[in-house]
Point group: C2
Chain length 338, copies 2
Amino acid sequence: MSSLAEVARRAGVSKATASRALSGAAHVSPAAKERVAAAAAELGYVVSSTAASLVTGRTKNVGVITPFINRWFFAEVLEGIEGALIKAGYDLTLFRLPSEPEQRSRLFHYFLVRKRVDAIVCVGVELAPSEVQLIQALRRPAVGIGGAIPGITTMCIDDEQASRLATRHLIGLGHTRIVHVGGDLDAQLDFHVHARRLAGFRAALDDAGIEHPDDFRPTTFSVPGGYEAAMALLADPESRPTAIVAGCDEIAIGAITAARQLGIVVPSGLSVVGIDDHPYAAMFGLTTVRQRPGEQGEQAVDLVMRAMTDVDADLPPRAIDIPIDLVVRTSTTAPPPS
Amino acid sequence: MSSLAEVARRAGVSKATASRALSGAAHVSPAAKERVAAAAAELGYVVSSTAASLVTGRTKNVGVITPFINRWFFAEVLEGIEGALIKAGYDLTLFRLPSEPEQRSRLFHYFLVRKRVDAIVCVGVELAPSEVQLIQALRRPAVGIGGAIPGITTMCIDDEQASRLATRHLIGLGHTRIVHVGGDLDAQLDFHVHARRLAGFRAALDDAGIEHPDDFRPTTFSVPGGYEAAMALLADPESRPTAIVAGCDEIAIGAITAARQLGIVVPSGLSVVGIDDHPYAAMFGLTTVRQRPGEQGEQAVDLVMRAMTDVDADLPPRAIDIPIDLVVRTSTTAPPPS
DNA sequence: TTGTATGCGTTATCAG
DNA sequence: CTGATAACGCATACAA
């Protein structure tokens, strides 16, 4: 309510010094600084960020675009971003990317363009070239998380490597009849995660010289998805694999649940390995490949922050790899003697 | 990049008419409107929302405060809010309420006060009186979701009623040895949901004249929480209850998982009922009390929108009840003959 | 219907 | 170290 002018008057200084005293940018005599601070406190003064933005051109606000809020990976990344942003004094404007093309375009042409964000973080979104252009036209630093976007700095795990790691672990235990229960290839609105995880799985089998006909069951990236796919897959004891590489932990958990329901003991009757290290993984004893989405979010913020402060130190155009590691628990063991 | 002035010049009109033509607020001759629109399109013009905010005092932006992003209920509410906001042309600024008091206070005194939001939605946050005052001092409409906040319009389900409904269902099936596995009473940073659900549970037993010593197992509101508590609770076949009322579906799912692991068949050996209707509930056949968090979010947005547009039609101070209903699936049945 | 002029609350650029 | 003063980009009251 109260403006800088009032504070200045009360402190007996000009608006300019009041501004300087409060922002701490320039040198102000301790006495003046003191008086301004007191006046501001008494009046309950707080800067109008809109006014400040108007003149500085910076909003202290970054936009985050994500297709989902309600999925573990995305929510986790979001939390990481939010924490890092708050720490830096920035607001976070959240945009959920709609699946309908029309609304999606509205997001880009209406919301994103309002000059309200100093930077953009895209999580798990694959951007069309035209969309990338649009973002670049904003002349604001942008980074992606979850997969490579040509033209934009992105950070992600090597999905192919992740599933290869998981598969190798099973092969190392002696498994040869392994099936990948992963994301539907047609339904990857996000990156080609599904395809890449499938590819890594197959590469590992190829590397080991293992045949793999009928090696893939597509489903949705969720516990129920894994449950249903596993129910179908495991129904016939004859054709049943000895191990499953799940596309993510949620699928793995669904598969374990299905196995239990069918009376199959995990891991002696069936080994299951996931990808993510979901908070529920430990409870299910799930062996998995850990990625830390929260940290990915924090790092993304670091990146845009640096790009904003450092004299336009351009972002590295290359994708940045996030480390992953295998967490062995109790859902995997050697296959049963056939 | 391009300003209103440039558009005006290109269209051969004044800034004022250009502004009017674009906002559509006042009457502009069709010809002029046409020319302005064309000029704007050619230049790729888009309003500077900061400049507009500075003069109008409205930001087209609402703040959302929530303690968690990564929990089903909260994420779901958030999605509902986001969708409704986007539809109305508003941005959503997300604030995660930190658990540390110091940072929490920073949120209120630094972030919230920057005059950047036209309204506030608090989800699952219990506000201290001083915090309520602070929000009221902003003179912006505010609504809460998830529990009553004195002084602020809130929408929530009747938690006591929800667990009473769940408990009555079990009693109706003939159960008398029922335990509530719910949220820890010390750990309810959000509302007193835990306590209220426990109270409803006990009230239902009292109503039916059923004794209930040792009727409560506190745990965390999560699948692993339910799992661990149920593992301990069900270990001893002698003292085992015939039914569990879970504080939420996640706990219920953890409990079902634990039961299965212990060889207890659900529901013939143990009935379990939850609260929420979590997306995983169906897969576990979980009988539960449904609440629709997404709709709660949408309704909250409706409310603040109305308060913002309608000539300061004040928000109803009373809490608004959200309907709930019992969804009977396959996790509940009559108790086994003792 | 249109144009002119003013102000929104800051920060930044100068002199002093 | 401090004080005028000019932007920043837009919306609106008022006059035409």
